[in-house]
Amino acid sequence: MSQFRPQVSDIAFILEHVVGYPELAKLPGYEHADLDTVVELLEQCGEFMKEVVAPTNRAGDVDGARREADGTVVTSPGFKEAYRQYVDAGWGAVPLPEEFGGGDFPRTVGLAIQELVTTANMAFALCPLLTQGAIEALLHYGSDELKSRYLPKMVTGEWAGTMNLTEPQAGSDVGALTARAIKRDDGTYAITGQKIFITYGDHDMAEQIVHLVLARVPGAPAGTKGISCFIVPKFLVNDDGSLGERNGVETLSLEHKLGIHGSPTCVLSYEDATGYLIGEENFGMRIMFVMMNSARLSVGMQGIAVAERAYQQSLDYAIERRQGLAIGATGRDSAIIEFPDVRRMLMTQKAYIAAGRSLMLLNAVYADRSTHDSHPAARARAEEIVGLLTPISKAFGTDLGNELTSIALQIHGGMGYIEETGAAQYYRDVRIAAIYEGTNGIQAADLVGRKLGVRDGASVLEFLASMREVLPELAEAGSDFDSIREGLDEQLTALEKATGWMLKTGRADPNAILSGSAPYLRMWGLCLGGWLLARSALAGPATGDPAQANTQLAMARFYAEQLLPACGGLLGAATAGSRDLFALTPEQLAR
């Protein structure tokens, strides 16, 4: 197994040259977060992840979290020690408000840190990721008392957090949940019910776990309109801030999963547990929506982060492994990297990872602009773009996670299928990311159902038009850029066609646009990737590093000529409507 090489220079290139980080850092409130400072932080962060977190990745897979007979949950060897160092180093606090002990850095920087920790160990990284979700809910809607009691220790990471949404009958349809919350005389609520799939629902890495729980108060409206959101701590917190008695939440069991064995996925039982309302009763879905964009972007990033690690390993293997003679080689067997098909697989990984990472960071930059831009109109526009890009980031990023870890495994040949090489772990670990935080099918439905219709389609059309602005720049850059310009022009045209069809068909036949939603989202992902890599190639010479310029040009050209054309091939599926999807009855499907 090869050693993790922190991908900080790739992230830094994208921040500086592709997604406009230097301009973001000029906005009020981010003056302290200039590019040089951020890159220095990321370098130290990468070093930390390499030395402390990455070495725990394998143990997390082979010796996963387990529940003891007494109901406590023990994490994989090394996780607890690594987490203590993670808390001491403060990496989780960087993008959080200074008021509660954070560094007030942009979300973009937080996302880059999340990528580094996820690349080092995805199962480990989920603990701080879920904590951040709970923190965001409290930050936006918690009372001052709840904030001052819980946030400081959650921001440092001394206390971990969880998100309790899913119940056996309430998965994608969260409105079907039945956990009950009954108000007591003292203003707290008694929470009773069962929650499943709770990531880091219990563990030994933090002394306290703060559960964010969705439940219904008596007489609440049916569906999502009747959901309330509560804080339920594992231990009640005394007035002096110390931990008091154990609350009524127990771990019934841990799930046996395909991957991320190091992350304990719990069935939690709440029995008359003390909960504190966040916001108002029946306000829970509003809170969830605030967190959703942020969580979905983070999950999209997970796809790229794990693909990066798998890529690094497959590259090392391709350089080391010798088999047969490549064309023109004599004597000793050639390293398999000398064979064209292996090169194809390596370039596919490298180009998609760069495209995916650029998309995630661009999405994050708009998220920061939506809260920090000085002009209200720019903030509003940034929020629209975040809405549009988020389902694409989540689904395209995690689909790539699946595809690229599979390619990395393939490069290992038969050994990839053997657990010993570790290639299989990335393939298994990343598989969940296309499922949780809204399946990729839900993301595609969100894109065509909610996001395309914003301002009657004007929002999405404006964004498409802005992507075309790169074409004249490519034309000016010289003949090296011709195939990039031609490819992008052609595929943007296909995407525009599909978008026109979606906007035209949407109201009259919602089932038709849902039927084409997944291929349509893929077209978006492919075009965004080609557009961002074109910007990378244009920026290459500005680095003053000929090798870097050459890398960026070759990646963009490879993508435009060999990956991007798949976009046009999806036009038919995106616009076919629902006829043949529903042509067969369930009985016919079974035959």
Binding site: T37, L41, V52, Q85, W91, A93, G103
Partner: protein, 260 residues
């Protein structure tokens, strides 16, 4: 209490290190410069004491070219309070004697209760600086400590030798040197990294320290490099093929090389 840690910037131990064959001096462009790992461990000893007593002031002291600043910032990011940088063109290629003179003079200027240093650097490996500094300052010196305990008026620790383990102590002020047995330095906290930019680094020249180099010498070095030669390239090894007498051939080879 003021603890001064002697910090040395060295070429990255895990990269290829090179000497410039014309000058006989280190080729600083050949590899990245980092803080010597043993210096980092010395910083950790000081910070551990600061953890238990927040009134402790930890000062880093180093001598080196202008590029040393980055290493000092890194050292400050672990949690030290300030740094002193002895910087003077006249110190290029300084030998142990001159280095210890400059460091001792700087220590006399800054003041100290305890000086902590690594036992030897990974590049020069002279292993004499801590003792020479203690001698020049005329304070007690504990060498090669595997563990350290610091109280308000004394330093103590364990020192292993071939025949046993010594428990040694000295009243402060004192100079101590530590071995690789003391723990690695902690990872910097992100606030430490940000804060390091704002912490003071005092630059002192030879003039500030009242040291005048001998004008008779081209450099301040009292030891003079007479000649240098590149290490010969590695030659192919000897292969012993077993045709029934490999044992004796091996023994003969080892005997010729005076290995047995």
């Amino acid at each position: 209490m003021r603890i001064v840690v002697l910090v040395k910037q060295v070429p990255d131990t895990y990269e290829e290190r090179k000497l410039d064959v014309t000058t006989g001096l280190l080729d600083r462009r050949a590899s990245d410069a980092i803080i010597d790992e043993i210096s980092e461990r010395a910083i950790e000893v000081a910070l551990k004491h600061k953890d238990s007593d927040s009134t402790t002031e930890v000062v880093l002291l180093s001598m080196g070219p202008a590029s040393l600043t980055a290493s000092l910032r890194k050292g400050l990011s672990f949690g030290a309070d300030s740094a002193v940088h002895v910087l003077d063109d006249g110190l290029g290629g300084a030998d142990l004697g001159w280095t210890s003179t400059a460091l001792a003079a700087a220590l006399a200027t800054t003041g100290y209760d305890l000086v902590i240093a690594g036992n030897e650097s990974t590049d020069g490996r002279g292993g004499m600086i801590p003792a020479m500094v203690a001698e020049r300052l005329r304070v007690p010196h504990l060498t090669f400590l595997d563990s350290v305990e610091i109280t308000v008026d004394r330093a103590s620790g364990l020192r292993e030798s071939e025949s046993g383990t010594l428990t040694v102590h000295a009243m402060l002020p004192a100079v101590i040197s530590i071995t690789e047995r003391v723990p690695e330095v902690r990872f910097p906290n992100f606030k430490g990294i940000l804060g390091a930019k704002k912490k003071p680094i005092t630059v002192l020249t030879l003039g500030d320290l009242g040291i005048v180099p001998d004008p008779q010498l081209a450099s301040v070095g009292r030891s003079v490099i007479v000649s240098t030669i590149e290490r010969p390239p590695r030659a192919a090894g000897v292969k012993v093929v077993d045709e029934g007498n490999a044992g004796s051939e091996l023994a003969e080879f080892l005997a010729t090389e005076h290995l047995i």
